[in-house]
Amino acid sequence: MFVKELPEWLQTRLPNLTNLDWEARENEIFGVFAEKNAAYSYQQILHALRTTSYNHIFKYAVEKLLKAFNGWSKS
């Protein structure tokens, strides 16, 4: 019943979901999401680079680096 709730394009792309166990379904479904998220986050970065001034890009990059440093040092 849960498969029928998924977007149609995802059901078409992954027609065998009902035959898989939950771990295999996780790999399949999240593999598709990873692809999509990577593609559109890249497109949005390109849009931001086209429309943002250099000082904003610099400020954003510094903040991301600091957050990454804090995040990785805690993990």
Binding site: F2, P7, W9, N37, A38, Y40, Q44, L46, A48, K64
Partner: protein, 222 residues
């Protein structure tokens, strides 16, 4: 959040507005960070017209590139991406804001079909609606239903509500290289279980197929 509502009055009219991110979500053991940037998503009928008006009333919200190139440039550029244009580093009454503007049509399409997942993912986590458009609210119901289905299909038959909401929150983060903190998603869920339940519980009851009780989730039929 009063300051966010006051900020909206500085902008041209919007059809739908939500507050999300660190100024709304609690961090485990800390609570809401009152110094955090205020993040907003604004859906408008006609982004070209909206940016035209906003460039006149709030030119400083835009980068020098957008100010010189104009609203057509913004709308054309964003149409090649996920449809949302962000104005970052905007200050209002001493607070920092970042707001994204998207068309109602593009937002609804993503909520209903996960065309880009870019907006749908943000709408799968708790947020506060400041202005509501019925079309967005209806499309959002579909988005939450699909997210729940993914959660139930990718977890064992007996699990916890924390794992369910973690799985749902991961939909929009997996594969996104910009995520800076590996514990970010888990922390969002841990600090905001109550908000996730408010958001998903009515849908869970309506959905059927599984039970959620006292932190445990059990699938009855798949």
């Amino acid at each position: 959040m009063k300051i966010a509502s006051a900020f909206l009055k500085e902008l041209p009219l919007v059809d739908h507005a939500v507050l999300y991110g660190s100024s709304y979500l609690k961090k485990p053991l800390i609570g809401v960070d009152s110094s955090a940037q205020v993040d907003l998503i604004l859906a408008v009928k006609d982004p070209l017209d909206w940016h035209k008006q906003n460039l006149k009333t709030n030119p400083k919200h835009y980068s020098s590139v957008c100010q010189s190139e104009g609203p057509e440039f913004i709308v054309d550029s964003v149409s090649k991406a996920a449809g949302i244009h962000y104005n970052p580093f905007v200050y209002f009454e001493g607070k920092r804001f970042k707001y994204g503007v998207i068309s109602v049509q593009d937002l609804c399409e993503d909520l209903r079909n996960w065309k880009t997942l870019y907006m749908a993912g943000r709408f799968q986590k708790p947020k506060l609606a400041l202005v509501e458009d019925k079309r967005v609210t209806i499309a959002q119901q579909k988005n939450l239903r699909m997210a729940l289905a993914v959660g139930m299909l990718t977890l064992p038959e007996v699990t916890t509500e924390e794992d369910l909401f973690f799985r749902i929150s991961s939909i929009s983060y997996v594969g996104d290289n910009r995520i800076e903190d590996p514990s970010k998603v888990r922390n969002i869920v841990k600090g905001n279980i109550d908000k996730f339940l408010d958001m998903y519980l009515p849908m869970i009851k309506d959905f059927g197929g599984f039970d959620i009780d006292n932190g445990a989730v059990e699938v009855i039929c798949k």
